[in-house]
C-alpha cells in the first residue's frame, strides 16, 4: 500500500523513535518520499514472483555453479 507523504512521515517518526532515532523535520520529509519509492519498487518484485509456478525460495547466499 502506498501512503501519502504526511501519513508516512508520522509512521516513520514513530518507527524510528522506537529505535531511539529522531530525524529532523527535513529528514522526515525526505525519508517519506524515499520510502514511498521503496514501496513502489516492491510491486516490481510481486510481478516477478507472480510468474513462478512454485513460490521462489529465499536466496541462500549461494549461486548455482557449473
Amino acid at each position: 500500500m502506498v501512503h501519502g507523504h504526511e501519513d508516512l512521515a508520522k509512521i516513520i517518526k514513530a518507527c524510528l523513535a522506537s529505535s531511539g532515532i529522531r530525524p529532523s523535520d527535513e529528514e522526515l520529509l525526505k525519508l517519506s518520499h524515499d520510502l514511498n519509492n521503496v514501496l513502489k519498487i516492491s510491486k516490481t518484485f510481486d510481478e516477478i514472483l507472480s510468474h513462478e509456478e512454485e513460490p521462489a525460495i529465499f536466496f541462500l547466499l549461494r549461486v548455482e555453479g557449473r
Binding site: 516513520i12 518507527c15 524510528l16 529505535s19 531511539g20 532515532i21 530525524p23 529528514e27 525526505k30 525519508l31 524515499d34 520510502l35 521503496v38 514501496l39 519498487i41 516492491s42 516490481t44 518484485f45 510481486d46 516477478i48 514472483l49 513462478e52 513460490p55 521462489a56 525460495i57 529465499f58 536466496f59 547466499l61 549461494r62 549461486v63 548455482e64 555453479g65 557449473r66
Partner: protein, 470 residues
C-alpha cells in the same frame, strides 16, 4: 631502470627480479614508502602506512629468499589493503570515526593467506565512508584524488586502493565490491578491478556493508597479477559459511584456456545508454577488434536489468541498516548526512519487501543464466562517464542528467545482485586524457575463463595499464 618506473612494474615482473636477487625486498619497500611519502599528500590514497613493520617484514623476506626459501611470486611484494580488512592488533577505520580505536584480535582470512605467501602489507587505503558510496569523497578522511587529474575523483569505494595501484604506491591492493566498488575506481584510475564469483573468496575479517552482496575485490596492473592473487586468496573457509568448496582456482589456467572464438553478449541500448561519447566509441572500437580476431559479438537477450538493480537497492538498504542500527542510535552525528539518511531509510524497509527482493533475485539469477546460454561472456562499459570532478553531484551524459552515483554505478551493480564474476579492464583514454574501463562478466565459477578472456582482450586490443603523469 629509474626508480619511478620500477614501481610501475607488474607483480610478475617484480617478483622475477626479487627471486633472482636483482632487487632486494628491503630496497623495494623503501622505494615504495618514499613514493607514498612523495604522493600521499596529493592523492590521499592511504589512511595509514606501516613503515616500520613493512621494512621488518621485507628484511625477513630478504633473508628467507637468500637462504633459498622463496615462497612464490608474492614473496617480498608490497601490497595494500582497503581499510576494511582486519590485521591483528592494527586499527581498522572503515573510513569512519565510529570505529575509533577498533583493533581486531584476528586477521581476515585473505590477509592471513597473503601473508603466508610472503606478501608485505605497506598500509591501509582510503575509502568511501563505510564503503557505502562510489566517489571516495570521505568527510572524515578527505577525498582521494585521481592520479590522472587531481581535480577529479578516484571513484570508490575502494578509491584509495585504485589510486595507490595506479600511482605506483604498491603493486596491488585488496578492495571490496558491493555494487562496483572495485571495478568503478579501477576504471576511473586506469587499472584492472576484479570481483570473483560470490562464494569463491572468504569475507571473514572484512568489515561488511551488505552480507549477501559483498565481495572481496582485487585491484592490479596486470591480469597475471589478478590471477596469482586470486589463486592465493580463493577457496573454502570454515569461518565464512558463504564460501563454496569449489575446485580451487589455479592461475596457470589463465594462459591455457582456449579463448580464440569466444561468444560475447552485449546488453541492449536500453541498459547501456546514456553513455559519454568517448566511452561509447572506445567500447565499440574494442569489440570490433575482438570481432576481427574471431570473437562473436551478439546482443544479450535479457531485459530485466532494472529489476536486478531494484533488488540490489533494497537488499543493500536493509542489510546495511541492520548492521549500523545501534551506532545510528548512539552516534548519529558521526555519520555524514547522506549516509545517515540511507541508513534510516534502510531501517524502514518492511521485512517482506526485503525478503521479496531476495526471492526475486533468485528468479532473476536463473533468468540471466538462461540468457547466457550459448554465450561465454557479457561485455559492457564499466561506467557511463569518466572520472567526475570532486564535489560534482550531477553529470550530463550525452544530454541526460544523472546523479554521479547512478552514472558510475548503474552498469556494475547488477552483477553483484547476480553474484557473477566481473572484471573492469582499461579500454583507452578519453579526449580529455582520462581512463575508460570495459567490463567483462562470465558465468558463476568461470573466473578462470573470465581472466583468460581479459588477458586475450589485452593482447588483441593493446589496451592495458599506463603510468599516470605523476
Amino acid at each position: 631502470m629509474r626508480k619511478r618506473d620500477l614501481l610501475h612494474l607488474s607483480i610478475k615482473e617484480i617478483s622475477e627480479a626479487i627471486k633472482t636477487g636483482e632487487i632486494s625486498p628491503v630496497e623495494l619497500i623503501t622505494s615504495v614508502i618514499e613514493r607514498i611519502k612523495h604522493l600521499n599528500g596529493l592523492l590521499n590514497a592511504y589512511i595509514s602506512v606501516f613503515e616500520q613493520s613493512a621494512v621488518e617484514e621485507a628484511a625477513r623476506a630478504e633473508a628467507e629468499i637468500r637462504a633459498g626459501r622463496w615462497l612464490g611470486p608474492l614473496h617480498g611484494v608490497p601490497l595494500s589493503l582497503k581499510d576494511v580488512f582486519y590485521i591483528k592488533d592494527t586499527i581498522t577505520t572503515a573510513g569512519s570515526p565510529i570505529l575509533k580505536g577498533f583493533t581486531p584480535k584476528h586477521e581476515a582470512t585473505v590477509v592471513k593467506r597473503l601473508r603466508e605467501a610472503g606478501a608485505i602489507f605497506v598500509g591501509k587505503t582510503n575509502l568511501h565512508e563505510f564503503a557505502y558510496g562510489v566517489t571516495n569523497v570521505n568527510p572524515h578522511f578527505g577525498a582521494t584524488k585521481n592520479p590522472w587529474n587531481l581535480d577529479r575523483i578516484a571513484g570508490g569505494s575502494s578509491g584509495g586502493s585504485a589510486a595507490a595501484v595506479a600511482a605506483g604506491m604498491c603493486f596491488a591492493s585488496l578492495g571490496t565490491d558491493t555494487g562496483g566498488s572495485t571495478r568503478i575506481p579501477a576504471a576511473l584510475c586506469g587499472i584492472i578491478g576484479f570481483k570473483p564469483t560470490y562464494g569463491l573468496v572468504s569475507k571473514h575479517g572484512v568489515f561488511p556493508l551488505a552480507w549477501s552482496l559483498d565481495h572481496v575485490g582485487i585491484l592490479a596492473r596486470s591480469i597475471w597479477d589478478v590471477g596469482i592473487l586470486l589463486e592465493t586468496i580463493a577457496g573454502p573457509d570454515p569461518a565464512d559459511v558463504t564460501t563454496f568448496a569449489s575446485k580451487p582456482f589455479e592461475a596457470k589456467q589463465i594462459s591455457s584456456l582456449d579463448v580464440k572464438r569466444l561468444k560475447v553478449g552485449v546488453p541492449s541500448d536500453k541498459f547501456l545508454e546514456p553513455l559519454q561519447d568517448d566511452i561509447k566509441r572506445l567500447f565499440w572500437n574494442s569489440l570490433k577488434k575482438l570481432e576481427d580476431e574471431g570473437w562473436q559479438i551478439r546482443e544479450l537477450d535479457f531485459k530485466r536489468f532494472e529489476q536486478v538493480s531494484a533488488c540490489r537497492y533494497i537488499i543493500l538498504l536493509t542489510e546495511a541498516a541492520s548492521l549500523h542500527a545501534h551506532w545510528l542510535e548512539r552516534n548519529p552525528e558521526l555519520y555524514s548526512e547522506e549516509l545517515r539518511h540511507r541508513l534510516m531509510l534502510g531501517l524502514l524497509v518492511p521485512s517482506d519487501v526485503y525478503l521479496k527482493a531476495q526471492r526475486a533475485r533468485k528468479v532473476l539469477i536463473r533468468e540471466f543464466l538462461e540468457a547466457m546460454n550459448g554465450l561465454d561472456l557479457v561485455a559492457c562499459p564499466t561506467t557511463s562517464v569518466t572520472a567526475p570532478m570532486i564535489g560534482e553531484e550531477r553529470v550530463l551524459v550525452n544530454g541526460t542528467e544523472l546523479s554521479v552515483r547512478l552514472a558510475l554505478l548503474r552498469l556494475t551493480e547488477p552483477f553483484n545482485a547476480l553474484a557473477l564474476p566481473a572484471i573492469s579492464v582499461p579500454c583507452g583514454m578519453s579526449k580529455d586524457n582520462l581512463p575508460v574501463g570495459l567490463q567483462l562478466v562470465s558465468k558463476p565459477f568461470r573466473d578462470d575463463l573470465l581472466l583468460a578472456a581479459a588477458l586475450a582482450y589485452e593482447e588483441i586490443t593493446g589496451n592495458g595499464y599506463k603510468m599516470p603523469p605523476l
